[in-house]
Assembly symmetry: C2
Homo-oligomer: 545 residues x 2
C-alpha cells in the first residue's frame, strides 16, 4: 500500500484555513498515486482547541468542512483528525475522532478511547471515550486506526498508564494488516525517542506496520515536533518526517528498506523548538515585528538570537536602556551582539526617568533606604518604554527571563516580565548557558564575555544574583526535584547532597513568586513541567510556609 | 441523632492549621453531646488543593493528621473530608474521600464516585472514582455518606449530568436512615437555591434526611458560600447555617420543626462573596494592607468600598493620581468618597512624569499623533506608583477593572491591570452599577455623581467608553451570550435584537484582548463563567478573525 503522511501545522480554530491545507495535500497525494492520505489528530481544528470546543457552531463547522474534504477523495482513502458530537448516551458531548473517507463517502469514524488528563492535557473536560476498536477494509487490507494516547498504554511508558482498557490489546483481536496512528504529541527536552519506543512495542506486538502521523507546529505554549514515521512489523523505524517543520512522507509499503538511524542532538531540538515557538506565535497571528530590551546579560542575548532566527533581523528592534547601575561592559557586550546579528539597536537611557520617579516619590519614601522598590522602578521604566514602542509601532515585546529566575521570583512583575511571549520562561538558567555554548560552537555569535560574567540584574550597585542565591546549577537541581518530580525537601536534600535549610529556602521562594508567575506572559513549553500550561498551583496556600 | 455540622473555612494546603481547627470543633461537638460531627469535602487540605496533590508528602501528611484527629473521637463519630491514596488497580493515584472515625478507630472511607471535570473543576486530573456506595451503622442507624457531585447527578440539574452511574440510586438500594453529604460547592451569582433543589430531590427519593456540610471561604478565585443545611425526609430545609462565614449547626433530628424560609437577596450575596474573597486573599496570606488608585469612576469606587469592608478603613490607602485629562469632578468625587469611608487619600499628580516620558520618547514618536501609546503611558505610570508604594511598604495593590472592560480590552496591561487581586474582574459593568445602588440604598456612600457620569478612562481629552463601544447593557448581553452560553453570533444577534455586525465587533474585541487577560491578576469568581479559573482559551487562534 502507498501511504501519504501529511505532517501539517494547523492553526488552532482556523477550520477554513486548515481545510484548504488538507485539500491541497489530498490533491498531492492523488498525484503521487497514494492509496491512503493521513493527517494528524484534530488536524481540522488544531490541537489543543481548548474551550473553542464548547461552541456548537465550531463543531458544526467541522462537519461542513468534512463534507468539503470528502469531495476530493475520489480513489483515495483519507484519514483526518477532527472533533465530532458524541454518540454515547453518557459522558461528555464530544469525541476526539478520526474520519475515514473514500470516494466522497464517509466510511466511518474512529473515536479516541484514552483521554489524557494530566500534565498539559485536559481531554476529560471535553471528550467522551470510545468503547471499542475497529478496522476498515482498505484495498483488501485491514487497517486499524488509533489516536495518540490509545497506543501509549500498552507500552507501559505513559505517565498515566493505569488505564482500565488497552486499545492496542483490543486491536490485536482484530488482526490489522496496518495500524494508522494519528497524534498531536508535543515535544519536551527530556522526551527523546519515547514515541519510537512506544510505537515499536505496539508494532511488534500487533505484528503489523504502524503509520504514524503527528502534528507539527506551536500552538498556545506547546510545541509539536512532527517526526511522523513508518514502523515495520518488527517495530523498526524505516522512514521518518522532519522534526519541527511541515513535511510529507510518501511510503510504498512494498519498497521499504533500511532502518533509520538518526542521532538526535538535544540542543538542536531545543533550539528548533524555541524558534518554532516564536515563529508560530507571530506568524499565526499575522504579527511580524518584535522588540526586546538587551541588558548585556545572557538571557536577553539568547532571547534576541532566537527571535532573530525566527523573524529575521529586519523585523527585530533592540533597545539598550542603561541606568546609573549598568556596567560599561554590559553596554559594550550588547553593541557587539547586535553587530554580530546585524540588528538595529537604539539606546535610551532610563536614568532621568528613574530620577523623576525618585523625586515624585521622595515625600513618601523619606527616611527609607534603597530597596526592591527602587530596583523595580528601573525594570518597570524599561518595561514601559518597550510597551510604548509596542503600542506606537506594533512591535510585540519579547520577555527574556529564564525559568530559574521565574522560579525564584528574580524578575520584576510589570518590568522585565512585560511581553507578549516569554521566550525562555521554560528554560532553566543552566540550560540557557548550554544553549549559548551550542550556538557559539562554530562562531562566537554570543560575545564570550556574556557567557563568563556573573549573572546580575544590575538594579543596584555591585549586585549579582548570587548575593542571595546559591549557584544556578544548585538552584536548577532543586527545581528539577521539586517542580518536575514533586519530591519532598528531604528527598531533594538527600539526592543532591544539600542542606535541608537551603532546599527549604529555595522552595519557599518558589511559592512566594507564584503570584508573579500567574501574571507572566505565555511561555514556550520545552521541559516536562513548565510554569505555564499544565501547572495549577494555588497562590494562597499554607503548605509551604 | 444529634449532628454537629461544622462549616469551617480551611486554608488550602495548611493541613496543620486545618487539623487543629477540626480537633477544636470535635471537642465542641462532644461538649454539645453530638453523636456525629461533620466537616466539609477535603476539609483537611482545603478545596481546591490543585497540584499540591501531586506531592507524596502532602498526601502522607493527611494520613498523619487523620491519626491525630482520631485521638479525639471517643464517643463521637467524626466524618471528615480529605484525600488519600487510591486503592483501585486502575486510574489516578488518589481518592477524594471522607473518613469515618469513632472511638479512635477508623471505621472506613467513603470515596467520591463522580468527579466533576468541567467549569472550574478539574477532578479527573487527580482522582480515581469509587465504584460502590456504602452505609455505616452509627448508633443503630444506617448512615450513608456521599461527596458533593455524587448527589448532583440524580437531580438532573448538574451541568454535566450525563454520568453512567448514579450514586443516589445505588444508595437507595442500601436504604439509609440518614444521608450525610459533604461538599465544597462554590457560589456564583446565578446559583440561587440550586443545592436546595438537588438535596430536596435526593432526600425525598431516598426517603431519608440529608445532613449537608459545605465548605465556606475563598480559595484561589473561588468563593464557597457555606449554607450547610439539614433537609427532612420530604426534602424540606429545616435548618441552615450562615452564608459566607464560618458557622456550626447543631441538630437533634428528633426535635426538628419548621421549614426554613429564607429570602435570598442576590445583591447581598454578591456583596458578601466579594468581601469574603478579599478578606481571605489577604488573611490567609497574613497580609493586611491594601492600596488602590481612585479614578473618580464607579469601578474604583466600588472596589474601594469592598476593600474597606473586608480589611477595615485603617488598612487601606487611596491614591488619587490626576493627569492633565482628569476632570475636576473626578478629583472631587474621589475626595467625597474617601470622606464617606473615612480612608486616607494621597494625591500624586502624574502629569510631570507623563511629560518626562513624552520627552524621552519624542525622538522616536516624532510626527506620530497621540494614540493608545500615550494613553497607556498614563495608566502605567499610575501602576508604577502603586507598585512602588507596594514594594516599599507592603501594601497589596487592588486592581479595579470590571468584567466588561476586561472582556473588551478596555484596560491597560501593566497599568490599571496591576495588582495582587482583581476585585471586580468577574463583575460585569451593569452589575457594578446594581451593586452601587444596593450599597447606596440606605445612605449615599458612593457619591451620586459617580453613578450618573458617563464612564471614561480619562486618558485623553473628552474621552468616554461609549466613543467606541455600545452602551454597557448591550455589551453585557453579548458577553453573557458568548462567554457564558457559548452562543454563535447569529444566535446572540437574534436573541437580543442586535445587528450581527455589532455582535461580531464585540466578539472580535473579546478575542483580541485574550493576551491581556492571560496576564491579569487573579479575580474573585462570582459569575458562572469567569475569565479566571475554569476558562481555557487560546491566544493564537483562527476561529474569530
Amino acid at each position: 500500500m502507498k501511504f501519504f503522511i501529511c505532517q501539517i501545522n494547523p492553526i488552532v480554530g482556523d477550520i477554513e484555513g486548515n481545510t484548504q491545507k488538507i485539500i491541497q495535500h489530498i490533491k498531492e497525494g492523488k498525484q503521487k498515486r497514494a492509496d491512503v492520505v493521513i493527517f494528524p489528530e484534530m488536524a481540522l481544528c488544531g490541537y489543543p482547541a481548548d474551550d473553542l470546543l464548547f461552541f456548537d457552531d465550531f463543531i458544526i463547522s467541522m462537519e461542513i468542512a468534512l463534507d468539503q474534504i470528502a469531495e476530493y477523495t475520489e480513489d483515495i482513502t483519507t484519514i483526518v483528525g477532527l472533533v465530532r458530537k458524541s454518540t454515547n448516551e453518557y459522558g461528555k458531548r464530544l469525541f476526539n475522532t478520526a474520519a475515514i473517507i473514500k470516494n466522497k463517502k464517509l466510511l466511518g469514524f474512529k473515536d479516541k478511547t484514552l483521554l489524557p488528563t494530566y500534565d498539559v492535557f485536559n481531554e476529560a473536560r471535553y471528550f467522551a471515550s470510545a468503547d471499542k476498536q475497529k478496522v476498515w477494509e482498505i484495498d483488501k487490507y485491514k487497517v486499524g486506526v488509533l489516536i495518540c494516547e490509545d497506543v501509549w498504554s500498552y507500552s507501559g511508558l505513559s505517565p498515566d498508564a493505569k488505564y482500565k482498557v488497552d486499545p492496542v490489546k483490543e486491536m490485536k483481536t482484530l488482526s490489522p494488516d496496518y495500524l494508522v496512528v494519528i497524534s498531536s504529541s508535543p515535544y519536551y527536552f527530556e522526551k527523546i525517542n519515547l514515541r519510537d519506543q512506544i510505537y515499536a512495542k505496539a508494532a511488534s506486538y500487533l505484528n503489523c506496520p504502524i503509520i504514524a502521523c503527528n502534528q507539527v507546529g506551536a500552538n498556545d505554549q506547546l510545541v509539536f515536533d512532527g517526526r511522523s514515521a513508518y514502523y515495520n512489523v518488527k517495530g523498526e523505524k524505516v522512514a521518518v518526517a522532519k522534526a519541527f517543520e511541515e513535511d510529507d512522507l510518501f511510503i510504498d509499503s512494498n519498497k521499504l528498506q533500511e532502518v533509520c538511524s538518526i542521532e538526535e542532538d538535544p540542543m538542536e531540538n531545543l533550539y528548533k523548538a524555541l524558534v518554532l515557538g516564536i515563529k508560530d506565535y507571530f506568524g499565526k497571528q499575522k504579527l511580524t515585528k518584535a522588540i526586546l530590551g538587551l541588558s548585556g546579560g545572557i538571557d536577553s542575548a539568547i532571547a534576541l538570537y532566537l527571535t532573530v532566527q525566527a523573524l529575521g533581523k529586519e523585523n527585530v528592534l533592540v533597545l539598550n536602556m542603561p541606568s546609573r547601575f549598568s556596567s560599561l561592559g554590559s553596554i559594550e557586550d550588547s553593541k557587539k551582539l547586535c553587530e554580530n546579528l546585524q540588528v538595529e539597536m537604539k539606546e535610551i537611557s532610563i536614568d532621568q526617568l528613574f530620577q523623576n520617579f525618585l523625586d515624585v516619590l521622595s515625600p513618601y519614601f523619606l527616611g527609607k533606604s534603597f530597596d526592591t522598590a527602587e530596583e523595580n522602578l528601573q525594570a518597570r521604566i524599561r518595561g514601559m518604554i518597550l510597551m510604548a514602542m509596542s503600542n506606537k509601532f506594533g512591535y510585540i515585546v519579547i520577555s527574556t527571563g529564564n525559568k530559574s529566575e521565574m522560579a525564584m521570583g528574580y524578575a520584576t512583575l510589570y518590568g522585565d516580565m512585560c511581553g507578549g511571549l516569554g521566550v525562555l520562561v521554560d528554560v532553566p538558567k543552566t540550560l540557557v548557558y548550554d544553549l549559548a555554548r551550542w550556538i557559539n560552537k562554530k562562531n562566537e555569535i554570543i560575545p564570550q564575555n556574556i557567557l563568563t560574567k556573573a549573572p546580575s540584574a544590575e538594579l543596584k550597585e555591585g549586585q549579582t544574583d548570587q548575593d542571595s542565591l546559591p549557584e544556578y546549577n544548585i538552584v536548577d537541581k532543586v527545581l528539577h526535584g521539586y517542580i518536575q518530580n514533586h519530591s519532598s525537601k528531604q528527598q531533594i536534600a538527600k539526592t543532591y547532597h544539600l542542606s535541608e535549610k537551603l532546599v527549604d529556602d529555595l522552595i519557599h521562594k518558589v511559592h512566594l513568586a507564584e503570584y508573579k508567575r500567574r501574571q507572566a506572559p505565555p511561555c514556550i513549553r520545552v521541559t516536562k513541567t513548565s510554569f505555564g500550561r499544565g501547572r495549577y498551583f494555588p497562590i494562597v496556600q499554607g503548605w509551604v510556609k
